[in-house]
């Protein structure tokens, strides 16, 4: 049974698109058929981060409106087999996405892919709700910083009220906290909220900690998902996130990861 995962945060600029690209690529690297959908209608950027911006012809809204079919809109990644991207539209019409339209597209994708990753726009408006509505699980991206933590809590509230699972009284959306742009040195100095602090406040299980890393900017500059950069500490951390998400214990590394040091798994 295909699983739908929303990557969400409320606040902008915390790493939703970086995570969507990295996580989807990490799954596909294992040979799992994965598609990543950009729900940020009007401000599409997943294509740039994935390095396929020049191959976009049809998009999600075109498919919903029947202006192009799904196979025309899906972009096959050139580096990783079994990885596909469904870009967002650049239309300014905010209501271009409808629940009915999104449901129709997801139904077809579910037959073909094992994981469907939905990259949510920032905010708590229509687009964010469209991205989370059908989700089975959520990656809540949080920076160790007050506004991001508060917004994440707001998103937790919405996942518990505005999703298909909540409305139909089904088992709730499974929540995973992902702490990004983490700077151990600043945490040790008492300048930055620690991973333990953030889990105490939000009370969501921690899936992983991604260190602040120069390699993330290099990766997006060149349109390479960070999980394809084997040298990058952030890339390694994302691969561990994928492993933990699939229920594995990530392999021991020479240099222990932040997550292992703090949460001991």
């Amino acid at each position: 049974m295909a699983k739908i995962i929303v990557v969400t945060s409320g606040k902008g600029g915390v790493g939703k698109t970086t995570t969507s690209a990295a996580f989807a690529t990490g799954l596909a690297l294992r040979g799992i058929p994965t598609v990543v959908i950009d729900f940020d209608v009007g401000l599409r950027n997943l294509d740039l981060v994935m390095g396929c911006e020049r191959r976009v012809v049809y998009d999600l809204v075109n498919v919903i409106n029947g202006e192009g079919n799904l196979n025309q809109a899906l972009i096959k990644d050139r580096r990783v087999d079994s990885l596909y991207i469904l870009p967002a539209s650049q239309t300014r019409d905010k209501d271009a996405l409808t629940l009915k339209g999104v449901a129709k597209v997801l139904e077809v994708l579910k037959k073909r892919f094992e994981y469907i990753i939905c990259d949510s726009p920032a905010g708590i408006e229509h687009g964010a709700i469209m991205a989370m509505y059908f989700a089975d699980a959520a990656l809540i991206i949080t920076n160790p910083e007050v506004s991001s933590v508060r917004d994440s809590d707001r998103i937790v509230g919405m996942l518990a009220a505005k999703t298909r699972r909540a409305i139909n009284n089904l088992e709730p959306v499974k929540e995973h906290l992902l702490l990004t742009r983490y700077d151990t040195k600043r945490v040790e100095k008492g300048d930055m909220l620690s991973a333990i602090d953030v889990t105490d406040i939000l009370a969501i299980p921690m899936l992983g900690i991604i260190p602040e890393s120069q390699s993330v900017l290099h990766a997006s500059n060149s349109g390479t998902p960070i999980t394809l950069d084997r040298e990058s500490d952030a890339g390694q951390a994302y691969l561990d996130v994928v492993a933990r998400f699939l229920g594995e214990t990530p392999p021991k590394r020479e240099k222990k990861s932040l997550f292992t040091r703090l949460f001991g798994k």
């Binding site: 910083e145 007050v146 933590v149 508060r150 809590d153 707001r154 509230g157 518990a160 009220a161 945490v187 008492g190 300048d191 930055m192 909220l193 620690s194 602090d197 105490d200 406040i201 939000l202």
Partner: protein
Amino acid sequence: MNLLSYFQNQNSQTHNTAAVAKERLQIIVAHARRQRDPSTLDCILPHLQQELLEVVRKYIMVDDDDIKINLERDGDYEILELNITLPEQELAKNEK
């Protein structure tokens, strides 16, 4: 304040701000969670305030900010405090 204490103050302001952040977040997040939890009084407060405002306005014109509702917790019990500020002119008229 001498120069030395100025620098000491500077230092204390930037020291361990993460602990301050945690404390502030715990308070605000707990408050937000009570507001969306249907089993708490906090959840009904915004509605109650709006409806009270409508009832009072049938008789006296008051501003949005003139009705204040406050919920305080003290051990096992909660105190619901309601404060309506009436405009002075309206009162004078009614007394005549």
